[in-house]
């Protein structure tokens, strides 16, 4: 048992375990000390000084996020001196910041804006020289605007500590300090794997996703004349979109989302969950082939484009292990422009595919040269959940009051297995459900394979016995965890048959394109991941069809169009390849 410590905060005595920071201690008695660089799920930086408090015996303020309480300590969180100091700090930050909140992407959800308001800053007193840097908006996925950066270092920390990419750092010193990739190269030429976690943790608009809303509005504006505009939504959208409209975390909103899309004027509304089922069909058969000795084990899943880039930059020697399956998004877009186009008798050139994704890296994936059909991009636009929310708001749709709608056919039905793709471990669970059926001839008695779900740690392992064969599997979310897992495999300590990796911590439900939670909740908060995952598992549990191979529309797709899993046609349309890329990442 750790020792307890007595201290006084604003005159109130409080007992806390040794090692508690002053910030956390204050929280316990209901005092929320303002903060900016602090992030509860990242290492301490303690550089913004916004969280200063006065401590008896010190003539300067101490940073409460980085100061541990000690016995007999007396703290003032709101003395006149401290209030003034905090305000000065925020005013100095603003002095060096553009004045364009009204036209800023983070307007209304910006920690700096919110903090200034709460500190009572109502005018700008300091008017000095402001730093000026070019905006890097050439990247397919991530836009960097250093003028909005307040140097809190959260992006540097998430990119290194959670993603293991270490793509960002501070450059230069003093007034001209700037955060960016090595040599401030454009994002797409850096080691960046486009996950967008820096976008999620940035308190301001210094990191954003590349905007695709304009092209979607444009496509919608000439619909029914020369374009058939199809939208398709990833599994994770329905678990988080409601948050952007004030619904509690993890409220499933599938039906309202479909209605909103219908009102916006899309000609057909499909569900990427359908192609999640399709991915499972292809990937499970790939696994069976490899179990039979064709191709290397372990097989690595390939749905997460951030992970795909990571493999290509950091572990290119493992490319032969990667499943050749396209991501569900690319399978879906391909089917829209082939299978669906054929059924509808529409020239694929006249179809415009909009994908709604929880993911920033999907924009990069859509732009990869492999993903073309007759010279056209397979997916024409990728909007994040955040961008969809902005579009719905700008349309004037009252989301909360929408009735439930239904996806269109034939690419709108999914089994419960497809639905859980959005949570880490979901692909594994779905794959095992189908592999079990293929190996034993019947479905598992209990389809809830909870041992691969995220409540069992950041890296999960499981063994399952199927028709006398033990299948060893592992799951990792967050690329730093993936590194740990892959290194263990490379050292030969671990032998697995199938490994699922998702770039984002928690899986797609916490992807780089998901709604910013309300200020005060952080994107890496495990409770947020849990609530969103619960939404998906509840959708799965409520379905009668819970295995990809039982999805009747999938069966029909194979019967009418593809033949069988891994057929020549399936290979041509649903599979892809990978290449080693530079700059090579540092492992």
């Amino acid at each position: 048992m750790s020792q307890m410590i007595n201290l006084k905060i604003d005159g109130e005595s409080i007992l806390v375990p040794e090692g508690t920071t002053v910030m956390d201690a204050a929280e316990q008695i209901g005092i929320h000390i303002p903060r900016l660089c602090y992030h509860p799920d990242l290492s301490l930086e303690g550089n913004c000084r916004v969280c200063v408090v006065a401590v008896e015996g010190f003539d300067h303020g101490l940073a409460s996020c980085a100061t541990k309480a000690w016995e007999g300590m007396e703290v003032q969180t709101n003395s006149p001196m401290i209030r003034q100091a905090r305000r000065d700090i925020v005013e100095l930050l603003l002095d060096n910041h553009p004045k364009d909140c009204q036209t800023c992407d983070r307007d209304g959800n910006c920690e700096l804006q919110n903090l200034s308001y709460r500190m009572g800053v109502r005018e700008r007193l300091f008017e000095g020289k402001r730093k000026q840097f070019p905006i890097d908006d050439a990247g397919a996925s991530v836009v960097r605007n250093a003028e909005k950066c307040i140097l809190c270092g959260r992006c540097i920390r998430v990119c290194g500590e959670i993603q293991g990419v270490f793509n960002l750092s501070q450059h230069g010193r003093g007034f001209t300090t700037v955060v960016g990739p090595a040599n401030l190269t454009p994002m797409d030429e850096s080691a960046c794997i486009q996950c967008g976690q820096c976008v999620n943790v940035c308190p301001t608009a210094a990191f954003l996703e590349q905007d695709h809303t304009e092209r979607v509005w444009k496509a919608l504006s000439h619909r029914r004349k020369d374009k058939h505009v199809v939208v398709t939504t990833a599994p994770a959208i329905r678990a988080a979109l409601g948050e952007a409209f004030g619904l509690p975390m993890g409220t499933p909103v599938t039906g309202k989302m479909v209605t909103a899309l219908r009102r916006m004027g899309f000609d057909a509304i499909f569900d990427v969950n359908f192609s999640a089922d399709l991915t499972i069909m292809e990937e499970a058969h790939e696994l069976l082939k490899r179990l039979a000795g064709e191709g290397p084990l372990p097989l690595l899943t390939s749905c997460s484009p951030g992970w795909v880039s990571f493999l290509e930059k950091f572990y290119p020697e493992l490319i032969p292990h990667m499943s050749s399956c396209k991501s569900p998004m690319q399978m879906q877009s391909t089917l829209i422009k082939t299978y669906y186009a054929q059924q509808k008798g529409i020239d694929p050139k006249d179809i415009y595919v909009v994908s709604v994704m929880p993911c920033v890296a999907k924009k990069f994936e859509a732009a990869r040269p492999e993903h073309v059909l007759d010279g056209m991009p397979t997916t024409d636009a990728v909007i994040t959940t955040r961008e969809l929310a902005v579009m719905i708001k700008s349309y004037g749709i009252d989301f909360q009051r929408l009735p439930d709608g239904e996806f269109d056919h034939p690419l709108g039905t999914s089994s419960g297995a497809g639905d859980i793709f959005g949570a880490t471990g979901g692909v594994m669970e779905a794959a095992l459900r189908t592999a079990a059926f293929k190996l034993t001839g019947q479905n598992l008695g209990n389809l809830d394979l909870t041992m691969v779900r995220s409540d069992h740690g950041a890296i999960r392992e499981a063994s399952i016995n199927l028709a006398g064969q033990t299948i060893n599997v592992a799951v990792a979310d967050g690329l730093q965890n993936a590194k740990i897992l892959l290194e263990a495999v490379k050292r030969g300590e671990k032998k697995y048959h199938l490994i699922e990796i998702m770039a984002c911590p928690g899986g797609c439900i916490c992807g780089g394109g998901q709604p910013y939670p309300p200020i005060g909740t952080y994107t890496l908060n495990p409770e947020l991941a849990k609530a969103r995952a619960k939404a998906l598992y509840s959708i799965d549990a409520a379905k009668t069809i819970r295995c990809s191979h039982d999805n009747p529309d999938i069966q029909k797709l194979y019967a009418d169009f593809l033949g069988e899993p891994l057929s020549a046609k399936a290979h041509e349309l649903l599979h892809t390849h990978y290449t080693a890329r530079t700059p090579r990442g540092i492992r």
């Binding site: 040599n183 080691a191 292990h321 080693a580």
Partner: protein, 190 residues
């Protein structure tokens, strides 16, 4: 891992060969000796010093080779290299201009001279002009306070100077640089 996983898809052997070719032997030996040990920031700084000592500056290729061979993220390496003033990220120009910012020169308006030089050359301290002729640096007292404000170009001292004299002064050196290049160009076209 299985036998299938090495070989053709791995670009490391080729990359490593390229990176090794970019650095001198003593640096490679230093890096090799430190392999497997914890990389402290001071080790990185020592390596940067060695490479700058050898080449006179740290180019993007050198930084990348250091990062890859030491297995330190490149962003960290360029972050360190841009933080410390003594690392030069561009090759030195033909003429090094040192503006004296010592007390005597400062009092006599050295900052105005410095500003004029920055404007004329379009560079900041620590940088090299696009044509590669001039590098701009500042220094503290060159011991000729009687001539303040003073600028050293190469090993020649100029002073006292006014900002309006700067363009003519630079033109003189540009002409010299052109003369030095002329015979070379003539022999090139032989």
């Amino acid at each position: 891992m299985s036998d299938h996983c090495h070989g053709s898809t791995d670009n490391w052997p080729e990359l490593e060969r390229g990176y090794r070719a970019m650095l001198p032997e003593d640096v490679l030996a230093f890096i090799d000796a430190s392999r497997g040990r914890e990389h402290s920031e001071s080790m990185l700084i020592a390596t940067l010093h060695m490479v700058q000592g050898h080449f006179g500056h740290l180019g993007p290729g050198h930084l990348e080779a250091i990062a890859q061979l030491m297995q330190i993220p490149l962003a960290k390496v360029t972050g360190v290299a841009t933080f410390y003033h003594y690392f030069r990220l561009q090759p030195r120009g033909k003429y090094l201009i040192n503006v004296c910012l010592g007390t005597a020169c400062y009092v006599k308006g050295a900052e105005k001279i410095a500003q004029k030089l920055r404007d004329e050359l379009g560079i900041h301290f620590g940088e090299t002009s696009k044509d590669g002729i001039f590098s701009l640096e500042s220094t503290r007292c060159v011991g000729t306070c009687g001539l303040a404000p003073v600028v050293m170009i190469g090993d020649e001292v100029h002073g006292p100077l006014t900002p309006s004299q700067i363009p003519t002064l630079l033109e003189g050196y540009l002409a010299r640089a052109a003369e030095d290049l002329a015979p070379a160009a003539a022999s090139d076209s032989r």
